[in-house]
C-alpha cells in the first residue's frame, strides 16, 4: 500500500507502472535555460510597457522568484518521505530537477527584468515583504508546517493530514497559483508583449501540468487503497482550502492589477480561478462547485498545437532521450 511506513524499494514486480510511465514520459521533455531568449522582452520592458503593465510584471516576477523553491522544498520534505512507491520517487526525482530548472529560469528572468541590484533582492524577499505575495507563501507554509512534525503516517489522522498537503500543492499551489500567474503571462503575450517570458512559461506550464497529473494520480491511488480516508471531513477541509486559495490569489490579483490594465480585471480573474478550481475538484473526484465559465478565450491558445515560424522563435516541441546505435538503423520500418 502506498502510504505504508516501511520503506519500499522494490521495482519488480512493479506495483505502480502508471508512475513509472509518468517518469519515462517526463524525461523525454528535458530542456535547459540555454534555450531561453529574453532579448526581445528586454526591448519591450524598455520601450513598450505602460506603468500599469510594468507594475503587474513586477508582482509576477516577485511571485515567480521564490515559488518553485517552495514547491521543491515541500517535495523533498513531504512527498518524497511519505509516498512509499519507488516508481513515484523516480518521478519525484525528475520533478525536483524540473523545479530547479524553473528556479533557474526565474533567476535568469529576475536578472534580466530587474537590472537594479536593490530591486532584485527585493523581488527575492517578496515572500516576506510584499503583502500580496506573502499571503500566498503563508498559505503554503501553513499546509507544509502542519505535517513537518510527522515522521510516520501511522494513524488515519496523520494520513489525512498528508493527503491535504498533497492536495494543497497539486490543486492549489500548482493548480491555481501557477495557473493564475500563467494567465497574466498569456494575456500579455496575446497583446504581443514579452515573448521570452511566454516561451519560458510554455515550458514551465508543460512541466507543471505533468506534476499536477502525477500528484492527482497519487491521490487517486490513495483513494482506492484507503477509501475511508476520504470522508466528509476531508471533503469539507478540501473545499475550504480551495476557497482560501482562491481568496489569496484574488488578493494578489487586486494588487497586481491595482493600477488598472485594460482587458483583464479582478472579476474576470475570479471567474477564471473558479473555473480552474472546478477542474481540480473534478480531478479529485468531487463535484464542481463554482460553475463559472472561462473568461479568457486566449487560454484556448494554450490548448492547441503550435506552429512556430522558425525565423522568429525557437521551437519547444521536441523530445529527448534517444540512443543512437548502429543496430537501430533499419530501412524497412513503416513511417
Amino acid at each position: 500500500m502506498i502510504l505504508n511506513t516501511e520503506l519500499n524499494l522494490t521495482l519488480r514486480p512493479m506495483q505502480y507502472p502508471q508512475f513509472f510511465k509518468l517518469y519515462k514520459d517526463s524525461i523525454k521533455n528535458i530542456w535547459t535555460t540555454d534555450e531561453l531568449d529574453f532579448s526581445i522582452d528586454f526591448e519591450h520592458l524598455r520601450d513598450k510597457m505602460s506603468p500599469k503593465e510594468a507594475h503587474l510584471i513586477k508582482r509576477l516576477v516577485a511571485f515567480f522568484a521564490t515559488a518553485d523553491n517552495l514547491v521543491a522544498h515541500n517535495l523533498v520534505l513531504n512527498f518524497y518521505k511519505h509516498i512509499n512507491s519507488p516508481e513515484y520517487r523516480m518521478f519525484l526525482g525528475k520533478q525536483l530537477f524540473d523545479e530547479m530548472l524553473h528556479v533557474e529560469t526565474y533567476l535568469l528572468l529576475v536578472d534580466n527584468y530587474l537590472p537594479d541590484p536593490v530591486e532584485r533582492s527585493e523581488a527575492f524577499d517578496a515572500y516576506r515583504s510584499i503583502p500580496s505575495v506573502k499571503l500566498k507563501a503563508d498559505f503554503c507554509f501553513k499546509y507544509m508546517d502542519s505535517i513537518n512534525e510527522l515522521d510516520k503516517l501511522d494513524t488515519d489522522q496523520k494520513k489525512r493530514q498528508f493527503v491535504q498537503n498533497l492536495i494543497c500543492f497539486a490543486a492549489c499551489v500548482e493548480g491555481l497559483f501557477f495557473f493564475g500567474s500563467f494567465a497574466y503571462v498569456y494575456f500579455l503575450r496575446n497583446k504581443g508583449l514579452l515573448p521570452g517570458l511566454a516561451a519560458a512559461t510554455n515550458w514551465v506550464f508543460r512541466d507543471e501540468t505533468t506534476h499536477i497529473d502525477a500528484a492527482m494520480s497519487a491521490i487517486q491511488v490513495i483513494r482506492e487503497e484507503y477509501p475511508h480516508l476520504f470522508d466528509e471531513q476531508l471533503r469539507k477541509a478540501t473545499e475550504n482550502m480551495i476557497d482560501e486559495a482562491i481568496e489569496v490569489e484574488l488578493a494578489f490579483c487586486s494588487d497586481a492589477l491595482s493600477l488598472g490594465v485594460s482587458g483583464i480585471s479582478p472579476n474576470m480573474m475570479k471567474d477564471y480561478l473558479m473555473y480552474c478550481a472546478d477542474n481540480r475538484l473534478v480531478q479529485l473526484g468531487y463535484p464542481k462547485k463554482y460553475l463559472t465559465k472561462n473568461p479568457f478565450p486566449f487560454m484556448v491558445l494554450q490548448d492547441v498545437q503550435s506552429l512556430t515560424n522558425f525565423f522568429e522563435k525557437r521551437v519547444t516541441e521536441y523530445q529527448k532521450g534517444f540512443s543512437a546505435t548502429k543496430q537501430a538503423v533499419v530501412f524497412d520500418e513503416a513511417f
Binding site: K21, V304, K313, F322, F335
Partner: protein, 773 residues
C-alpha cells in the same frame, strides 16, 4: 466609467457608441454578434482607459471570439484596417502619403518620380476594399512589421493597399505595369517574398531572401571575412546558408605557428554570436544554417552543436545545422561499411568534385591512408537521426542529387556547396561568388473556382511573376560585391507555391490521394513550363544570363530531362518539353534557375493560406510569432460541419481535446475525416512521393518538412533512406510532438482514471513501459 480621448479630455463610456463602431465592422459577415463584442469590450475596460486602449480592446475581443466562430477573424481585421486608417490620418490620400513617406526618406526617387507622374491614375486603381480579403492574422502581421512607420513617432504612415502599390511601383518600368502587378498581389494570386515586401520602392531595395556562402579560404582572414559578410547580408534581412566544409578539422596542422587546429567548432561559436547580434533591421532575428559534409572530421561534434547539455563553448543555440551528404555515404550506410573522416586540406579534391569524380577521389584518399579516423557509416547515420529526433535540426540534403540536376554545374569546378537557410535554394558558390535568390510564391488557393482549377490564369500570373522576379536582379541593392557579381552572372530566381492544402480542400481532395498528387504534378509542370517560356522570351529582348553557354541549357537539358535518370518515378507530362528545350537552346534564357519552393511561413499567413506544399498541422493550432500568438482554425472544416449541422460547442471541445484531429470523432462522416487529416495522419511516404514527383519541375529545390509524432531511430533511418532513393534533393525540419502536454485549460477535465485503466493505457504503449509484466 470614463475614457480618456486622444486630446486628453474625458468622456463617459457609452455602449451605443461602441456598438455603432462594431456594427460597421460586422456588416455582411454571418454568425457574428456585434452586441457580444461591445459588451465584452466594456467589461474589460477600467476607469481612465484611453480611447486607443478601447479600440485595441474591441479588436482583442473579436480575436478572442475566433475560437468559437472563425468569422470573427474578418471582423477583427476590419476593425484593425479602420484603426490603421485612423493612425495614418483619415483624410490622407495617396499623394499625401507619397509626400510624407518621401519626406521621411523612405521612398526611392525613382518610385517617387514614377508615382508623381500619374498619381491620379494610381489613386483610382487602389482598392482599399480589398483589405476585406485579409484574415486578422495576416493584416496584423502586415501592420506590425511591413507597413512603413514614421522614423520618430513610430506611427504607421502607410495603408495596406498603399504598401502593395509601393511594392508594385518599386518593380515596374511604368504606371500601367505597376497597376497590373498591384492587381495580382492585392488579390492574393501571387505574393513576393518578405524582403521584397519590406524593401521594394524604398531607398534600400534589398529584396533577396537568401544568400549562400562558402568559407572558401581556410585561413583566419578567410573565416572572419565570411563572418563579416554574413553580418552585412543579415542586416538587410537575408537568411544565410554557409558551407563550412573547407575549414580544416580539429587536430590538423597550422603551418604558420606549427600548432594544431581546434577545428571548426570554436569558429562556429563566434559565428553563432555574430548571427545573434545582428537583427534584421529590427524586424526579425538574424538566422543562418551551417552546412557540413559528413566526411569532415569534425562531423561528430558538429552534430552535437544544438544539444542542451555539454560544454557551453561547443554549443551554438542560434545556428541551424544541415548536412551535405554525398551518395557514397548513403551507399556505405546501406552496405554497412566503414566511413573515413578527413581534414579538407589533406583531401582537397573532395571540395572540388561531386558524383563519380568525388567517389573516385574519396576512395583514393582512403587508399593513401589520408583519413584521420574511421567510423561505421551506420553508426554515424544513426547519430544524424538522433540529432534530427532531438532537435529537429541536422537537415539531410543530398550533395550529388543537388549537383547532378543543377543547370549551373555543367563545367568542372562549379559546384553547389550547400543549400540555404530553408533548403530550397541550390546555387553555385565560390570565394568570388555569394549566391543570391529572390523569391515569390503563387497562392494556389486563389485558382480554384467551384472545384475547377484555373490553369490558364495560373500561366498568366506565372508570366508576370517571373518578369517581376527578374527585375529584382537589376534593381536589387547588394550588400556585398560577391553577391552582386554572382547574381548578375546567373540571374537566378525562385518562384514557389503556397496554399496547396487550401487548393485540395477547395477541390475536395484527400491530401495523400492519387488525384491530389496528379493535380499537384500538373500545377508544378504548368508553373515550370510558363516560367521557362517567359524567361526565354525576356532573353530574346534583353539577352540571356551571361553564363548561359556554361550551363546545361546550352546542351538542351531542362529539369525534366535531368530528372529522368535521377528519380524512379516520372509524372505524366502535358507539355512538349523537348521542343521547349530546343527553343531555349536557340533563344537563350534570362535566368539560370527559376523554381524554388520556399516555406512561405510569413507570406502565407498574410494571404491567409496554408504554408507552401504542406498539409495542415492541425485543424486548430496556434501560430507563435513576434506579434503574439494567434489561433488558426480550419475554416473549411467548420463550413463543412456547419452544413451538416455538426458545428456545436461540444464538437469544438471534442476537437480541441483530441489535439485538433477529427479522425476519431464518430459523429463526423468518414470521407470528411479523410479530407481533414492532419500532417501527423498523412502518410509521410506519400508526402515524399509527391515531393519526388514534383521534383521533375523544380530546378532548385523544395523546403520539405517531414513529420513523425513519435520518431525513433528505426523509423527515421528508413524514412531518410527512402527519401534518398526517391531522388529527393533536400529535406528540411523533422517535426515531432512534445511527449507530455500542457493541461487543457479550456475544455472539461476528464474524471480521474482508475488504476486498471491507467495500466491498460501503459500496456498499449510498450515502448515507454517495459514494466507491464
Amino acid at each position: 466609467m470614463h475614457v480618456i480621448k486622444r486630446d486628453g479630455s474625458r468622456e463617459e463610456v457609452k455602449i451605443e457608441k461602441i456598438l455603432h463602431a462594431v456594427n460597421r465592422a460586422c456588416r455582411g459577415i454571418p454568425n457574428v454578434e456585434a452586441l457580444d463584442i461591445a459588451k465584452r469590450t466594456i467589461s474589460g475596460l477600467h476607469d481612465g482607459s484611453t480611447t486607443e486602449e478601447l479600440d485595441n480592446l474591441s479588436i482583442a475581443t473579436a480575436v478572442m471570439l475566433m475560437a468559437e466562430e472563425p468569422n470573427y477573424s474578418k471582423v477583427a481585421a476590419r476593425m484593425l484596417s479602420e484603426s490603421v486608417r485612423k493612425e495614418v490620418g483619415r483624410d490622407m490620400a495617396f499623394r499625401d502619403y507619397l509626400k510624407r513617406a518621401s519626406e521621411h526618406g523612405a521612398l526611392s526617387d525613382r518610385v517617387l518620380g514614377l508615382a508623381t507622374e500619374d498619381f491620379q491614375t494610381i489613386e483610382y486603381a487602389i482598392r482599399h476594399e480589398r483589405d476585406d480579403l485579409f484574415e486578422y492574422f495576416g493584416l496584423k502581421t502586415l501592420v506590425d512589421r511591413y507597413l512603413l512607420r514614421h522614423p520618430e513617432t513610430r506611427k504607421v504612415i502607410e495603408r495596406p493597399q498603399w504598401m502593395l502599390m509601393r511594392v508594385a511601383l518599386g518593380l515596374s518600368e511604368n504606371v500601367g505595369e505597376a497597376i497590373e502587378f498591384y492587381d495580382i498581389i492585392s488579390q492574393f494570386l501571387y505574393m513576393p517574398s518578405t524582403p521584397t515586401l519590406f524593401n521594394s520602392g524604398t531607398r534600400h531595395p534589398q529584396m533577396s531572401s537568401c544568400y549562400l556562402l562558402t568559407v572558401a579560404q581556410d585561413s583566419l582572414q578567410g573565416i572572419y571575412k565570411t563572418i563579416t559578410d554574413c553580418a552585412h547580408l543579415s542586416k538587410w534581412s537575408g537568411g544565410l546558408g554557409v558551407d563550412w566544409t573547407p575549414v580544416r578539422a580539429s587536430g590538423a596542422l597550422i603551418k604558420g605557428t606549427n600548432g594544431l587546429s581546434n577545428g571548426i567548432i570554436p569558429f562556429l561559436k563566434v559565428f553563432d554570436s555574430s548571427v545573434h547580434a545582428v537583427n534584421q533591421g529590427g524586424k526579425r532575428k538574424g538566422a543562418a544554417a551551417v552546412y557540413l559534409e559528413p566526411w569532415h572530421a569534425d562531423i561528430e561534434t558538429f552534430l552535437e552543436l544544438r544539444n542542451n547539455t555539454g560544454a557551453e563553448e561547443r554549443r551554438t543555440h542560434n545556428l541551424n545545422l544541415a548536412l551535405w551528404i554525398p551518395d557514397l555515404f548513403m551507399r556505405r550506410v546501406e552496405s554497412d561499411s566503414d566511413w573515413s573522416l578527413f581534414s579538407p586540406e589533406m583531401a582537397p579534391a573532395l571540395l572540388k568534385t561531386f558524383g563519380p569524380e568525388f567517389d573516385k577521389a574519396y576512395e583514393s584518399y582512403e587508399r593513401e591512408g589520408k583519413a584521420l579516423k574511421k567510423v561505421s557509416a551506420r553508426q554515424l547515420y544513426s547519430r544524424m537521426m538522433q540529432t534530427l529526433a532531438e532537435t529537429g535540426n541536422g537537415w539531410i540534403c543530398f550533395k550529388d542529387k543537388a549537383n547532378l540536376r543543377c543547370s549551373q554545374t555543367a563545367r568542372p569546378g562549379t559546384i553547389v556547396r550547400s543549400s540555404n537557410l530553408c533548403t530550397e535554394i541550390l546555387e553555385v558558390t565560390s570565394s568570388e561568388e555569394t549566391a543570391v535568390c529572390n523569391l515569390g510564391s503563387i497562392n494556389l488557393s486563389a485558382y480554384v473556382n467551384q472545384c475547377k482549377f484555373d490553369f490558364e490564369r495560373l500561366g498568366q500570373v506565372v508570366e508576370r511573376a517571373v518578369t517581376f522576379l527578374d527585375r529584382v536582379v537589376d534593381i536589387n541593392f547588394y550588400p556585398t560585391n560577391e553577391a552582386s557579381s554572382s547574381n548578375k552572372k546567373w540571374r537566378p530566381v525562385g518562384l514557389g507555391i503556397m496554399g496547396l492544402q487550401d487548393c485540395f480542400f477547395k477541390m475536395g481532395y484527400v491530401f495523400d490521394s492519387p488525384e491530389a498528387k496528379k493535380l499537384s504534378d500538373h500545377i508544378s509542370e504548368t508553373i515550370y513550363y510558363h516560367a521557362l517560356k517567359t524567361s526565354s522570351k525576356i532573353a530574346k529582348q534583353k539577352g540571356s544570363f551571361p553564363a548561359f553557354k556554361d550551363s546545361r541549357y546550352a546542351s538542351g537539358e531542362l529539369q525534366v530531362q535531368l530528372a529522368q535518370p535521377n528519380q524512379p518515378f516520372m509524372p505524366e507530362l502535358h507539355y512538349d518539353w523537348d521542343a521547349l528545350a530546343r527553343d531555349i537552346q536557340r533563344d537563350g534564357l534570362r535566368n539560370s534557375l527559376l523554381i524554388a519552393v520556399a516555406p512561405t511561413a510569413t507570406i502565407a499567413s498574410i494571404v491567409g493560406s496554408y504554408e507552401s506544399i504542406e498539409p495542415q498541422i492541425s485543424t486548430f493550432f496556434k501560430r507563435e510569432t513576434l506579434s503574439g500568438e494567434f489561433l488558426n482554425i480550419n475554416r473549411y472544416l467548420i463550413d463543412d460541419l456547419k452544413q451538416m449541422g455538426l458545428w456545436t460547442p461540444q464538437m469544438r471541445a471534442k476537437i480541441i481535446e483530441s489535439e485538433g484531429s477529427v479522425q476519431n470523432i464518430e459523429a463526423i462522416p468518414l470521407e470528411i475525416r479523410a479530407k481533414y487529416k492532419t500532417v501527423w495522419e498523412v502518410s509521410q511516404k506519400t508526402l515524399i512521393d509527391m515531393a519526388a514527383s514534383r521534383s521533375a519541375f523544380i530546378d532548385q529545390s523544395q523546403s520539405l518538412n517531414l513529420f513523425l509524432e513519435e520518431p525513433n531511430i528505426g523509423k527515421l533511418s528508413s524514412m531518410y533512406m527512402y527519401a534518398w532513393k526517391q531522388g529527393i534533393k533536400t529535406t528540411y525540419y523533422l517535426r515531432s510532438r512534445a511527449k507530455t502536454k500542457i493541461k487543457k485549460t479550456t475544455v472539461e477535465t476528464p474524471k480521474a482514471v482508475t488504476a486498471e485503466e491507467a495500466v491498460a493505457c501503459s500496456l498499449e504503449n510498450p515502448e515507454t513501459c517495459e514494466a507491464c509484466t
